[in-house]
């Protein structure tokens, strides 16, 4: 009896003072199968997310495929200098920024407006129809959307022939740098407005109906209800999504750009990621391209971390 009690005490003090090695051993005994299951995932992350980090060193080397990453000679920041001294640096940074600003100013409010308007519709059948139809383009592949856009923008395509009835002079819109951003951002809004509204509709449905009833009793008309009940109800969602979008301010993907741009429109269309793609995989200028990509990654990381910090703060204070 005494001995067993002693043992117990011993055990519990031991548990508190367990060394790292013992903790790991005990964990191994208990979680053998969990470790086994973690292995493929951890290995996958190391190979496909961490091994490329080593590949970044070629941004500071004169990489040649014959010599490999290891064997290529160091050149310091030569490629960064080359990029920032080139005519392209300003062009691609400006284009990335401007396209994102267009998306922020026009693309961000669009789904909010749609959600608010849908929320005012009392006829459920009509509401459902609008939702089903506007969600649809989200599922159509980018290649098909861009294929349609290329077709409609051609000289005798839909856009031109419709505009021609208003006295417009038909021209291939995708060959003109001045229309590229409008077409790019506009088609993005067309494709994403419905899908983007879902999250705001959810926030709207979370607003207590009693608040509206109280406002009605107080004599608030619909506009006043919108300003005093609806808007505050979805404000936290808006703020969080806005901060996250600002976090992505310099990280537009290359895929849609590559589908739509051409040498005629590089002036307004070429962004950092499409430039990285072209320099690296079309011109096989691996080191230069990696340097530009690294610059972009660092900017994106900084923006994202800042956005995350701000959103955490806003989240905390706006919840209560």
């Amino acid at each position: 009896m005494d001995a067993s009690l002693n043992k117990n005490v011993n055990y519990s003090t031991k548990k508190k003072k367990k060394s790292l090695g013992e903790t790991i051993k005990a964990d191994y005994k208990q979680n053998k199968f969990v470790i086994l299951m973690a292995l493929p995932v951890v290995i996958w992350y190391i190979v496909f997310h961490y091994a490329p980090l080593y590949g970044i060193t070629i941004a500071f080397k004169n990489y040649s495929p014959m010599k490999g990453i290891m064997g290529s000679s160091w050149v310091g920041i030569k490629f960064f200098k080359e990029f920032f001294n080139s005519y392209y640096a300003w062009r691609v940074i400006r284009n990335t920024f401007v396209i994102n600003i267009y998306q922020l100013v026009c693309g961000f409010p669009a789904p909010i407006i749609l959600a608010v308007l849908l929320n005012e519709i009392k006829n459920n059948r009509f509401k459902k129809t609008v939702q089903t139809l506007t969600y649809l383009p989200h599922f159509i592949s980018l290649v098909v959307i861009c294929g349609m856009l290329v077709d409609f923008s051609s000289k005798d395509g839909l856009f031109n022939t419709v505009l021609a009835t208003f006295g417009w002079n038909p021209t291939n819109l995708l060959l003109k740098p001045e229309y590229f951003r409008g077409l790019y951002v506009g088609s993005g809004i067309w494709q994403g407005i419905g899908w983007g509204s879902i999250i705001y509709l959810a926030a709207l449905s979370g607003i207590d109906t009693e608040q509206y009833e109280a406002a009605t009793i107080d004599g608030a008309n619909r506009w006043k209800q919108f300003v005093n009940v609806t808007l505050p109800g979805i404000a936290p969602t808006i703020v969080i999504l806005l901060i996250m979008q600002i976090g992505r301010l310099m990280s537009e993907g290359a895929d849609k750009i590559i589908l739509l741009y051409n040498a005629n429109t590089y002036e307004t269309a070429d962004i950092i990621s499409s430039f990285v793609y072209r320099k690296g995989l079309v011109d096989s200028n691996f080191s230069y391209s990696t340097a530009v990509g690294l610059f972009n990654s660092v900017v994106n990381m900084t923006l994202l971390i800042t956005a995350n910090k701000i959103s955490r703060k806003v989240n905390e204070t706006s919840l209560w």
């Binding site: 790991i24 964990d27 208990q30 979680n31 969990v34 470790i35 086994l36 299951m37 493929p40 995932v41 951890v42 996958w44 190979v47 496909f48 490329p52 080593y54 590949g55 970044i56 070629i58 308007l117 005012e120 519709i121 009509f126 609008v130 089903t132 139809l133 506007t134 969600y135 649809l136 599922f139 159509i140 592949s141 980018l142 290649v143 098909v144 294929g147 349609m148 077709d151 409609f152 839909l158 022939t161 419709v162 021609a164 009835t165 067309w190 407005i193 999250i199 959810a202 008309n221 996250m244 590559i258 589908l259 990285v276 793609y277 690296g280 691996f286 990696t290 990509g293 990654s297 994202l304």
Partner: protein, 292 residues
């Protein structure tokens, strides 16, 4: 509730209905136009300008040309492979990861979590990833489109959250019966998370269906091209050569209608399943929003 609508309310409501109807027209009409154009006679379409309200004439020539193009069939076959095998691999890897990260007393959990979260903020970028895939010998093989994209960290976290919501008591009783963790995942956790798994299958599946960029950079062999890359060549790179080998003027006209028919043939599967799957997708947004 008594509905008392003021004059201003009525004006607003009418405007709202008109606006949303207009939005539906703008959303739907481009697709209708493509449908009409694809059934139109090529010569009539070439000489007619502006909005179409119905097919101009009626011709199935374009569809015949589409199905005569072997690349469309090859693309469909390859895409089927990428969607089925790729999604299966995605689900296996993501649920393994989510299971590991949802364990409550696993020493390595916080380290693995940190390792995973870091990748959301910083990555190697295009060229280092490309060189890696090439170095692993996956270049110009189907695996380049399946293995490097095994896990989407965002989906992993959604699934982890779903797994964490399952009551611990359920697996504890299984453990007492002698089940190991692998059995617990496949016999208890996964069957209980079917709604989330369904959403994940749809997200990954649609991702594979729509993907083309990976194929563009990793594949040289056209026999391996997914449908979307084939479409890019036909619709965007204007490589009508295959279809228009004997390019007399009659066939030249056909070029435009072939594009329209190609769009329809390539989009039909999505359009057909969309009405049935819509609610799952919407649910997916909500699951993601809870965490995001």
């Amino acid at each position: 509730m008594v509905i008392h609508r003021s004059f201003g309310d009525k004006i607003f409501d009418s405007f709202n209905y008109v606006f949303l109807t207009l939005l539906m027209v703008i959303t739907l009409y481009p697709f209708l136009y493509v449908v009409f154009a694809s059934f139109s006679s090529a010569e009539m379409l070439a000489t007619t300008r502006g909005i179409l309200y119905k097919p101009l004439g009626f011709s199935l020539e374009a569809y015949k040309s589409v199905f005569d193009n072997p690349m469309i069939l090859i693309g469909y076959k390859n895409t089927a492979f990428y969607v089925i095998v790729g999604t299966f691999y995605n689900i296996i890897m993501t649920s393994l990861g989510a299971f590991v990260l949802s364990r409550k007393n696993f020493y390595w959990k916080k380290y693995i979590m940190a390792m995973v979260i870091f990748t959301m903020f910083f990555g190697g970028g295009l060229i280092p990833s490309f060189l890696l895939v090439k170095g692993l010998g996956m270049y110009n093989t189907v695996w380049a489109l399946i293995i490097p994209g095994a896990i989407s960290t965002f989906n992993l976290i959604i699934m982890k959250t779903a797994f964490e919501a399952i009551p611990l008591s359920l697996e504890e009783s299984a453990k007492i019966d002698g089940a190991n963790d692998i059995l617990i995942l496949f016999k208890i956790i996964l069957p209980l998370s079917m709604p989330t798994i369904a959403v994940m299958v749809l997200y990954y599946g649609v991702g594979h269906w729509n993907a083309w960029f990976g194929a563009l950079i990793y594949l040289r062999n056209k026999e391996l091209y997914p449908l979307q890359l084939v479409l890019r060549e036909i619709l965007i790179s204007n490589s009508m050569n295959d279809m228009l080998q004997n390019s007399d003027t009659d066939k030249m006209f056909l070029g435009e209608t072939i594009k329209h028919a190609t769009i329809i043939v390539a989009t039909l599967p999505i359009l057909m399943i969309y009405p049935f799957l819509q609610k799952y997708f919407v649910k997916g947004v909500m699951i993601g929003a809870l965490k995001g």
